[in-house]
Amino acid sequence: MSAVTPPLPRWADVFLLPLINLLVALSICGVIILIIGENPWTALVVMLKGAFVFPGSLGYTLYYTTNFIFTGLAVAVAFHAMMFNIGGEGQAYVGGLGAGLIGVWLAPSLPLLIALPLAVLMAGLFGAIWGIIPGYLQAKRGSHIVITTIMFNFIAASLMVWLLAGPLMELGQMSPRTPSIAESSELVKMKSILAFFGVETARSPLNLSFVIALIVSFGVWVLIWKTKFGYEIRTVGQNAEAAHYAGINVSKIVIWTLAISGGLAGLMSINEVLGVQHRVILNFTAGYGFTGIAVALMGRNHPVGIFFASLLFGALYQGGAELDFEFKSITREMVLLIQGMIILFSGALAYMFNPPLARLLAKFIKPKENADV
């Protein structure tokens, strides 16, 4: 660097920078919409209405949000150990298998109080297994975690196609899917919960997993910042060599971090399998695992940030679906574009706006350190 860059104030790093990144991503998409020959402003209004205003739309937005909280947390936990878990997609898919196996084949003979928690637990456990293998290979055999998790996504996809179209397929069905899960392992809809308290809401797929996602978020915050294990994760992430000399078992931390990360991704499947579809269907992960990467980057790997980033992406997904109805030439794929831009600007180009912004802010705000000198 030619000029010394003043440090960016924390509020700017946490709020302003992500906001600028989002605005740049949205503006580029706006230009593309202009080129296509539509009005970007109208598109934005349609998306906002579709995400928050129409009856039931908020429920849909929060339902997508739930998926992104889980996959975002999964990526974030691994990021804290400087591990890039790109395999959330596969871990969620295999997690769904765990939930489905319990829900379809074991739950009918179990009471609700056991069936449901067991199904949720198995979703996490199966995801964890799909994460711990790449973690082990990275820690003990020196495999590159990124490549291994990419490969595991494809292996999971093949495995699931084989299972869903083969041994686990519902009899007499043409589409690859399992039979439906027992009622005792279904996650109750938020509409019913709210109705119990006398609040009437529109129909939506939002279910109890949203609440579980919030509880898990809090759990992740405690884990990362309030426990010895979390401290060790962050130490390994900051400097694995120093961590080693400080007596931390780096391989063990890497392996368990990936297990937790995979488990979190696996939990995403409870929203789909136990909450909405009530069976395991083909490709139910629909790219949510990859979106988790954008969510974690934007949310700065912090559960609070991840919640808001998930809400943003939830709104984009739900609002994007509305584009299909309102426009002839723009569709929900527009959201993929926004997602790609956000990953580019807040991930790969994270430092592009940082130095100029820091210099700009330094002109307006006199840092306290200067006063002391």
Partner: protein
């Protein structure tokens, strides 16, 4: 020729056709990764190339213009990757992922806006795509037993891009091992500081490596939509970029071994479609999914050192800071 031999011949024929995009992408991956830049964006560049080739071939009527446009588009994607991870020293994996997602979104969005066919391009006519090339003397050799059939089925009768892909391998090997540029490119992936202290720009070398990667991926994309297929279908790259990446790793970042890996992976895909529901002697029926997943499984095993040893370029993934 016996029925079995003929089936085998057809499988090899399919292998060549399925391996073509893998070979081109693998060469692209070798250029990029040997220069020290991780390239998981092969997939996105391939997809972009496929869309642009079909769109331009359809609009202009010329498949060659399609190839050129595909190369231009794919190089543009590679330059975004370069801008993020060479110029701004961003995370190469994150950048590659962004390119892949951008490509997914862009191809469909622009496709719908232009052609109004749900993200596809219109079906390409005969003149708008690369047809099979009959080689000389096919009729003459036809009477020669065995070799004549092999000549007709396996060697002759592919489109020009298949042969280009096969030529890309010696070309890559030549550039890497016999030119000054290639020497520097390999050096910059191992010890960039040494190249820098010799007065050669690390940045410009890596950019050139990415341009080459873009060119090869562009041709591969054109092959998908205007050679093998007759038009663009959304998500038509279908993970081939990742399989090519696996082939690069499997070939230890060297052109000829990577070519063999592409043939192996192409063969698995070709054989899996022929063996669907057919019980094999001794092992019985093999699930197609297992055969299709084998490239990924083998790559994992290789990376873990269970079969052979992977030795990636030493400076891969690290942005160079002067």
């Amino acid at each position: 020729m016996s029925e079995f031999a003929l089936q085998l011949l057809y499988t090899f024929d399919g292998t060549l056709r399925l391996a073509t995009p893998l070979i081109l992408c693998a060469m692209a991956g070798i250029f990029s990764e040997r220069s020290g830049v991780i390239d998981i964006s092969l997939e996105g560049k391939l997809l972009t190339g496929a869309f642009v080739a079909a769109a331009v071939a359809h609009t202009s009527g010329s498949p060659w213009l399609g190839v050129l446009a595909a190369i231009a588009a794919s190089v543009t994607m590679a330059m975004i990757h370069g801008f993020a991870c060479i110029t701004h020293r961003g995370n190469q994996v994150v950048s590659g992922l962004a390119i892949n997602i951008l490509a997914s979104g862009l191809t469909v969005t622009i496709g719908i806006a232009f052609f109004k066919q749900g993200g596809q391009t219109p079906l390409l006519g005969k003149a708008e795509r690369f047809g099979p090339n009959e080689w000389w003397f096919v009729d003459l050799f036809n009477h020669v037993p065995i070799l004549g059939t092999i000549y007709r089925e396996l060697i002759s009768g592919h489109n020009v891009l298949v042969y280009l892909a096969l030529l890309a391998v010696p070309l890559t090997a030549f550039i890497l091992y016999k030119t000054r540029f290639g020497l520097r490119l390999r050096a910059v992936g191992e010890v960039p500081a040494a190249v820098d202290s010799a007065g050669v720009s690390v940045t410009w070398l890596r950019y050139r490596a990415l341009i080459l990667a873009g060119v090869f991926c562009g041709v591969a994309g054109a092959y998908l939509s205007t050679g093998q297929g007759a038009g663009f279908v959304r998500e038509m790259s279908a993970g081939k970029g990742y399989i090519a990446l696996a082939a690069v790793i499997f070939g230890n970042w060297r052109p000829v071994p990577a070519l063999l890996a592409c043939f192996l992976f192409g063969f698995l895909e070709s054989a899996s479609s022929r063996l669907e529901g057919v019980p094999l002697p001794l092992i019985g029926e093999v699930p197609t999914q297992l055969m299709l997943a084998l490239p990924y499984i083998m790559t994992v095993l290789l990376l873990a050192g269970f079969i052979g040893k992977a030795s990636p370029p030493r400076a891969i993934g690290e942005p160079y800071i002067k």
